[in-house]
Symmetry: C2
Subunit: 308 residues, 2 copies
């Protein structure tokens, strides 16, 4: 987490008037419900409408007061909305965009929170009507928990939010989405979608894949060993199990939709692991020590960047 | 961390008289200095003597009051000690044991805190004089920090400590080492050294190797990408950098001294990662989702076991 002393205690200075009339949030999970809470807390919209394929999730979101109303009809949720936030798993975004397209206000802004950006631009950007402004986004925030109950209004405070508007995207729309996230406490970075996908492949996608893998390897151990793995779960494995508790559908979609960048980084990782494996096999202590020493500098840099 | 509500606030009921006359702690790093602090806090010894190859570490340990006195002469540190704790990196244990052997009290107890046990029994057990009781141990506790300043007296509270006494080890000595750790707040498990090494290979050694690898992969990225990896370090990678900041010499020695078990588990891990890599390449979403779903149960079990 970023240093909490750097975070604003209250809504930023530019607050005062709602930024949007009606915000529709489609997909009321961890991110969607957190954004709904933040929008409400910072008074960024007059009305918040939720949409989710699950009636149970809609009922929970209404009961928690996360949204003003919720419906399983995503297209209906978008009626009259000047901002639509797509926060379903990435694999569903194209389908959702297709279904809501006929219902969107002519000048509505559509944004998303997906962890991959090239595939989303391909799937969503292509099906939205002319006039509607699509501003692809990715808040770098989350926990291993899922569902509307797990959200909280401060999730985005002190975190980065990356926007990847394709060339030609309406500047006023980018400015409004920027202000949305800034007023939720985030710092905005604009970058190319392909670059985003390569950076996130190593900072987020590969670590999750590896955590899923190693915990899966443990699951496959004989019953007796498995119970001892749980019992003596030390630092390292324990952290991996937390990461490997993340939403399976969301992560399935991320890997399928950032395939090239993820496969490229798996390849590099495997080469590096094989080199260490070989050093262990042949007792090359100097190689191991040299490799283990240089990684400390990265940790130091991350602490200095207030990301740890 | 274990649930703090399960931890004793004060020394356990059996406290009252020092367990040892003079404790010598050889290697005053994170674990050694934490044990010294815990021994002092719980009044488990009349005197604590530190030994460390580094004069600077000895001076720091004395200045911090972690030990009563410290010396770079490990053999001298052991004179008159009824308990000697070896807490150097595993690769040095055989050499240290050889050097202290002539100086040990005839019935002294020697224990260690090494993360591998078969190699330690081989290297240490063989060189100690007859009459001296060697009780191999491994407190499952630690942080990514190193050195005498990083220790703290509560490090072992609510944690496991595994003892792996070979058949025939003096029972009274095992009982005293058991009581030492129990009075530091740990729960004792006795197991076979080979079994210990296999379980720790997956719960601790492989996660550390992977964390070092992935952070190293990031270090090798082009300068621009590397700075963005630091900047947008998300959950996952951030956790890995913490693990990869652990002491390089300690971890070099662990891998070199638990070679067979680590190589075996790397092999299993690589097979599993390759299967996921293939599923990503061929777009097999069901395989990914199924694999990602079953790992949640392990997380649940670890939380229930109060290890997270």
């Amino acid at each position: 987490m970023a240093d909490p002393t750097h975070l604003p205690d209250t809504a930023p200075a530019q607050s005062g008037s709602p930024l949007f009339r009606r915000v529709a949030i489609l997909g009321i999970g961890l991110i969607g419900s957190s954004l709904a809470r933040a929008v409400r807390f910072h008074e960024l919209a007059t009305e918040i409408v939720g949409g989710d394929a699950s009636a149970a999730v809609c009922a929970t979101a209404e009961r928690l007061g996360v949204v003003d109303r919720a419906t399983t009809d995503c297209a209906a949720a978008c009626a009259g909305a000047d901002l639509v936030v797509l926060s379903t798993p990435v694999g569903k975004l194209g389908d959702v965009a297709t279904r809501i397209a006929p219902m969107l206000d002519p000048e509505a802004i559509v944004t998303d929170v997906g962890s991959v950006k090239q595939a989303v631009i391909r799937d969503v950007g292509a099906v939205l009507p002319a006039g509607v402004h699509f501003v692809p986004g990715h808040p770098i925030a989350g926990t291993e928990h899922s569902g509307p109950e797990s959200g909280f209004a401060t999730l985005f405070q002190g975190r980065w939010c990356i926007l990847t508007p394709p060339p030609g995207t309406n500047e006023a729309a980018v400015a409004k989405v920027t202000e949305l996230w800034q007023r939720c406490g985030s710092t905005i970075e604009v970058m190319d979608a392909g670059h985003h996908d390569r950076v996130l492949a190593i900072t987020s996608h590969l670590p999750h894949l590896i955590a899923y893998t190693i915990v899966g390897t443990a699951v496959d151990l004989a019953e007796e060993s498995r119970s001892e793995v749980i019992k003596f779960s030390a630092s390292g494995f324990r952290d991996f199990t937390r990461i490997a508790a993340s939403d399976p559908v969301m992560w399935r979609d991320i890997f399928l939709n950032n395939r090239e960048a993820v496969l490229e980084i798996i390849q590099r990782f495997t080469e590096d692991l094989t080199a260490l494996q070989r050093a262990i096999r042949w007792g090359e202590g100097d190689t191991l020590q040299e490799r283990f020493t240089r990684t400390r500098a990265i940790r130091r840099a991350i602490i200095d960047a207030h990301q740890a």
